[in-house]
């Protein structure tokens, strides 16, 4: 019996897999939509100008406590740029006391030595820094600001203070051909993880700039070949696949309201980054509900749980337990129906919406992510699906 007791079986689970029990593991705290960068691939909603009324420090502390009570153990501070909040250090201290593993997801701008020192003292566990390119011109063009040298300085500072470092870069048509140079550049910082994230077009500014950003199928295949052949060394490489080119939908957020809770700068509680674009759903807020109430009882979180909501071909598809029908926001934004099969799936009756777009000639018009453009875009949308 003792032998059986000591049989060590170690299930290794990444965040992508489905959680065993109905409780979230992840809380993403989007502290602010303010950002010194203006990257046009940003996943923030194009309506950011409308959500500038940020919740306060005490409200965030309450959110952190409720998240932990609900079972969350991983906490991401993101934005926008979370460092624009001067109470970040205080929130890190609170989160650490509650027992979270705390991740700072940053552009690197605003991370002075004084602040990084304080974050270390307050128990921050890891830092992810984003770059836009391996070379300054493209980096600063995409970021809409001269930030390249500052980012390099910050990445070195992160290592100096012995934080686990994740190097993140978002890939698209303009930088994906340089993947070899990007990997060389990333490895020069001796990161613990390298995240190569193909742009996701499931909403926000990324979708607005899809015509500019989307690479060709050949570009994507070539990049994957180079990544696969690259000597990995000690760093782990996380490759976010390009769903437009793959013919398979991604299991967005590991399944709807399965693992993640996102709280936006103005206090909205969402199961995914773009959920606020879906029509006909009340948006829960931390101002009038607890995270537990939202997680268990809200329509927003319950609507796409399980399989009952699915249409054909998802309903009878064996892969429904793997991809959960794909991304709901993408389905809505491309087809106008939030219950439809994600059109990136080759089995979707509307898959041509994606294949035709991949083959289309690209545009060189690039919309920077900032509050001014947000206002302009909002004036044009008037509540309709953005596409076509």
């Amino acid at each position: 019996m003792k032998t059986i007791y000591f049989k060590t079986i170690l299930p290794r689970t990444r965040v992508k897999t489905r959680a065993a029990a109905g409780q979230p593991n992840w809380l993403l705290a989007e502290l602010s939509y303010r950002c010194p960068l203006q990257c046009g691939y940003c996943s923030n909603p194009v309506e950011i100008a409308q959500y500038q009324d940020e919740i306060g420090t005490d409200q965030w502390k309450k959110v952190l406590k409720e998240g932990r009570e609900l079972g969350c153990v991983q906490l991401g501070f993101s934005g926008g740029e979370p460092l624009v909040r001067q109470d970040l250090e205080e929130l890190v201290l609170t989160a650490n006391g509650l027992g979270y593993y705390t991740n700072l997801i940053t552009s690197g701008i605003g991370l002075t030595e004084q602040r990084i020192k304080r974050l270390k003292e307050n128990g921050l566990d890891s830092i992810q820094i984003s770059f836009q390119s391996h070379e300054s011109d493209l980096n600063d063009y995409i970021a809409g600001n001269d930030v390249y040298l500052k980012k390099i300085e910050t990445a070195k500072l992160i290592k100096q203070y012995e934080f686990p470092l994740t190097f993140n870069i978002v890939l698209h048509r303009k930088n994906i051909d340089c993947i070899k140079d990007i990997l060389d550049f990333a490895f020069s910082f001796e990161p613990d993880f390298i995240e190569l994230a193909n742009t996701q077009y499931s909403g926000g500014f990324a979708l607005e700039n899809r015509d500019y950003l989307l690479p060709s199928l050949e570009q994507v295949k070539q990049a994957k070949r180079i990544v696969d052949a690259y000597p990995k060394g000690e760093s782990g490489i996380i490759y976010v696949f390009p769903d437009y080119h793959q013919g398979r939908p991604k299991a967005c957020m590991g399944g709807w309201a399965n693992n993640f809770i996102i709280v936006t700068p103005d206090g909205a509680v969402l199961p995914c980054l773009s959920a606020r674009t879906l029509p006909g759903l009340n948006v829960p807020s931390v101002k009038d509900s607890t995270l537990g109430e939202v997680w268990n009882n809200s329509e927003m979180f319950n609507i796409f749980r399980g399989e009952d909501w699915m249409q054909e071909p998802c309903r009878t598809c064996p892969d429904k337990i793997i991809d959960f029908g794909g991304c709901r926001c993408q389905a809505y934004l491309l087809t106008g129906d939030k219950f439809a099969t994600d059109p990136v799936c080759s089995l979707s009756p509307q898959h041509n919406l994606v294949t035709e777009f991949v083959e289309k000639e690209r545009s060189d018009e690039f919309v920077f992510r900032n509050f001014e453009n947000s206002k302009k875009i909002m004036a044009n949308i008037k509540g309709k699906p953005v596409i076509q």
Binding site: K2, T3, Y5, F6, K7, T8, I9, L10, P11, R12, T13, R14, V15, A20, N25, V73, Q74, G76, G99, Y101, N103, D125, S126, Q128, E162, P164, T166, D192, F193, I238
Partner: protein, 85 residues
């Protein structure tokens, strides 16, 4: 790493990881552990040699060659996964 080197090592949890209850947390990821793995990892504080960790386990559960083997296998796995250094 040879089995003797493992037995004499004084493992501690890799700085990338943090043990919280039954979960091993690392940047943007979670490993769900069973009770055995938690028990062994909790004892990895950088001061105890693995042979000392084994003594603690044997004191609690009695000595058994198959337990001994399982502990060896577990630590090999922990090292390979870089959960401990």
């Amino acid at each position: 790493m040879t089995s003797i080197a493992i037995a004499l090592s004084r493992p501690r949890i890799n700085r990338l990881y943090k043990l919280r209850g039954k979960q091993l947390l690392y940047p943007e990821g979670i490993v769900h552990l069973n009770d055995t793995a938690v028990k062994l990892l909790t004892l990895c504080d950088g001061t105890r040699r693995i042979i000392e960790i084994k003594d603690i386990v044997f004191d609690e559960y009695g000595f058994d060659m198959s337990i001994n083997q399982d502990i060896n296998d577990s630590f090999l796995q922990f090292y390979n996964n870089k959960w401990i250094i």
